[in-house]
């Protein structure tokens, strides 16, 4: 049997006999892209419920309250009338942050004494906590500048001079690659790529396990021909699926892509090769597809979490770093995000080489295992045949 015939047989399996395989390889990454593209539709955390306990109730304190009410980062859900009421709202988590403006706030400022404002933030969800602290700092910086300029003017300085003396350094922030700090741009590509890997795993696993259940069918073909013929369609479809996913990400979910096709193509093909290698080797040792699926699903969460996509490699302990280096996703998802958002990845060539070597090694190993198992079957084949004859004679 030639390679092309095995490819045709596999194509029939993918699109006619067992359509799940086509669904996995084309559907998994797109499904996740859609779910999380919609989930992170707001891009940044906005409307954090906040309460302000304004003990002062003066024009100045109300102007500070207005600064918070005007910010899209906060949603002013209440203005409690007492400390207890404020604490209660925090306790019940109807508000995630509270601002306490003291009763002598305005008097202190106009008298030239500085006045403290207390921010109480719930620290449990760091996404929310970061938003609260950063946005409050920005609001108070703006408020301080406005007030201090007025104070400077009262001290006899001109408006510009008062501003320059009270705010001598202007901070300019230049945020590269993801200027709006969009969570969607940061996160969704990685999640889609983790599921892309899972799609390859499940489809290739199904193919290999079914082949092991039917080892005699391709006994005439050389093991290399079998593996190349079986895996080639998955390699091609995985690459196509990768680009379809990216096209949807770019055109439907507005995720920018500054990178070039060649970089993405090299990453996609080498990663597909590695993922096919991992799944074909793993499936060689699984007795059933259910077992393979269980292992594959269990692996999917650590594969993403330890890939360095979110928690950077430099902040991992030694044990986690070693594990991260062994995961194919480590060489892929971060690089894809870099290529898309920044237009390049500094580790592109290293990652491509590692993935290529890893992929070819794993596929060679799985071919070796296949050849070995088939050889063992051929050795034992004669015995059952003899037994059948014996039973027949009896």
């Amino acid at each position: 049997m030639r390679v092309w015939q095995i490819v045709k047989r596999e194509l029939h399996d993918i699109f006619v006999k067992d359509r799940r395989r086509a669904n996995f390889i084309f559907g998994a990454s797109i499904a996740y892209l859609v779910i999380f593209g919609l989930l992170y539709g707001e891009h940044i955390v906005k409307n954090v419920p906040i309460v302000i306990y304004d003990e002062d109730q003066t024009k100045l304190s109300r102007s500070l309250v207005q600064f918070f009410a005007d910010s899209e980062r906060f949603n002013l859900v209440g203005q409690p009338a007492s400390q207890e009421e404020m604490e209660q709202m925090l306790y019940e988590q109807t508000a995630y942050a509270a601002i306490d403006i003291p009763y002598d706030f305005s008097r202190n400022i106009t008298a030239g004494r500085s006045s403290p404002v207390l921010l109480i933030a719930n620290g449990m969800n760091l996404l929310v906590t970061n938003t609260i602290t950063t946005a409050t700092q920005e609001i108070l910086l703006a408020f301080n500048q406005e007030v201090s300029t007025k104070l400077g003017e009262w001290a006899g300085l001109s408006s510009t001079l008062a501003h320059n003396k009270t705010a001598p350094i202007e901070i300019i922030l230049r945020v590269l690659n993801n200027p709006t700090l969009s969570y969607r741009h940061f996160f969704v590509i990685g999640l889609a790529m983790a599921t892309f890997q899972q799609g390859i795993f499940l489809s290739v696993g199904a193919s290999i396990v079914s082949e092991y259940n039917n080892l005699r069918e391709l006994a005439a073909a050389h093991p290399w021909q079998v593996m190349v013929g079986k895996l080639l369609p998955y390699f091609v479809f995985a690459t196509v699926s990768f680009f379809v996913t990216l096209l949807i990400a770019i055109h439907v979910f507005d995720i920018p892509c500054k990178g070039d096709f060649i970089s993405l193509f090299c990453l996609a093909t080498t990663f597909s090769l590695t993922a096919i290698g991992v799944s074909s080797l793993l499936a060689s040792f699984c007795t059933s597809e259910i077992t393979f699926t269980k292992i594959s699903l269990t692996y999917s969460v650590p594969a993403f979490t330890l890939s360095g996509y979110i928690w950077p490699l430099a902040s991992m302990d030694g044990f986690s770093q070693i594990i991260a280096y062994t995961f194919p996703l480590f060489y892929f998802s971060d690089a894809v995000r870099d290529v898309m958002l920044a237009g390049y990845s500094p580790f592109l060539y290293r990652n491509i080489v590692v993935l290529l070597v890893l992929g070819l090694t794993l596929i060679s190993l799985s071919t070796f295992v296949y050849a070995h198992k088939r050889h063992r079957l051929e050795l034992t084949k004669e015995q059952p045949d003899d037994a059948e004859v014996t039973v027949g004679n009896l």
């Binding site: 409307n47 400022i109 620290g123 001598p168 922030l173 969570y183 928690w311 995000r337």
Partner: protein
């Protein structure tokens, strides 16, 4: 029976949650992204600019990897990822401050990974604002304001920050309870959605047993083992990874029991209804694997659009993971009773449906089975 015949089941129920807890507990042990590589381009090279550079050097958030002498070198460091952030001090920085001409300090950061960007934005602004307040104070002293008065004029409103429940903003405190519960959810799902497979294959062997008895016989061991597994995970977090536990054990037991009950019954219902266990396990994996991130545990529900809010409301983990974190960090969870009741209610509904569907399918399959026997 479950213990003797189903060693792999036990392995999954205990192995996955504990493995996840161990792996991710180690991963996030640093708790905060520190030592962000920073490059400095100080074009001023005066005592004032060096004080600003020193402020960055003193912060544990940063590790100054180089002080360069050209814009191109900065770009090169950022491009090669040898630095994730850069501070530019412009020429005449010190002179401009002294002359009361407003000057600028530029912070540049790579934001493709928000873990770095958020850390840089929060801490660099803090450092520069503190520095600016000091500089402003000196300037106003120059127009005959006393030092204390000058500082108050520059920064009339002082911000005191009190962070409750997780004062050190430790990442492991934030994420670990959820990741462990997610591991538990996956384990329960993998076990429970195949629990009735063998019974469909062996209808003749158990034809005398009523459907509810078979299902209860499956549910109870699975549920009890899942409860123990969940408690072991939280125990590992508290005793091995030293995460705080400020609530009481009863609260934890309540929500843990409710969640494991809901998940076990959901799996049983799938197992009873699914024509093909493997396909069902694979297709519902999308739901089970995505549910943690959609539950509002990290991306809050108030920041979600309508789609996200509705989807989150349908996920059992939405009602459990954040509550367990809240019990651990705050000592209470405001909606504990409501959420536990919802989970138990959802579990009972799934259980009822599982019994009905299993019973119907047994009746449908029984004649075929009889024919097979005869």
């Amino acid at each position: 029976m479950l213990l003797r015949k189903r060693f792999s089941t036990i392995l999954i129920l205990f192995g996955i949650p504990l493995l996840y807890t161990l792996l991710f507990g180690s991963l996030y042990s640093a708790n905060i992204v520190k030592n962000i590589p920073l490059v400095i381009y100080d074009q001023d090279q005066t005592a004032t600019s060096r004080t600003l550079v020193q402020a960055f050097a003193d912060s544990e958030r940063y590790e100054i990897v180089a002080q360069v002498s050209s814009q191109e070198e900065v770009e090169q460091y950022l491009h090669n990822r040898q630095a994730m952030a850069a501070v530019f001090v412009p020429p005449h920085f010190s002179k401009d401050i002294k002359m009361s001409h407003s000057t600028q300090a530029l912070i540049e950061t790579n934001a493709s990974n928000l873990m770095f960007a958020n850390g840089v934005l929060a801490s660099s602004q803090e450092i520069i604002q503190t520095f600016a307040a000091g500089a402003g104070q000196k300037l106003l002293e120059g127009v005959n304001q006393p030092p204390a008065q000058a500082l108050k004029t520059v920064a009339p409103v002082r911000l005191s920050v009190r962070i409750t429940d997780n004062p050190t903003t430790a990442y492991s405190n934030f994420i670990m309870a959820g990741l462990s519960i997610n591991g538990l959810q996956i384990a329960i799902f993998l076990v429970s959605c195949t629990l009735l497979t063998a019974d469909y294959l062996d209808l003749a062997g158990r034809r005398k047993l009523p459907s509810w008895a078979i299902i209860m016989g499956k549910l109870i061991p699975c549920w009890l083992l899942a409860i123990v597994s969940g408690l072991l995970c939280i125990g590992m977090l508290v005793f091995y990874f030293k995460l705080p536990f400020r609530g009481n054990l009863l609260q934890l037991l309540l929500i843990n029991s409710a969640f494991t009950f809901a998940m076990s019954n959901l799996g049983l219902f799938i197992s009873a209804a699914a024509p093909n266990v493997l396909a069902t396990m694979q297709n519902t994996a999308i739901y089970i694997m995505s549910s943690f991130l959609c539950s509002g545990y990290s991306w809050p529900q108030f920041a979600m659009n309508k789609f996200g809010q509705i989807y989150a409301a349908l996920l059992p983990i939405t009602y459990a993971a954040a509550d367990i974190r809240s019990i651990m960090l705050a000592g209470h969870a405001p909606n504990l009773l409501r959420n536990s009741a919802l989970l138990f209610g959802f579990g009972c509904l799934c259980l009822l449906l599982a019994i009905v569907v299993f019973n119907l399918r047994r009746k449908q399959l029984a004649p075929q089975c009889q024919e097979g026997l005869t």
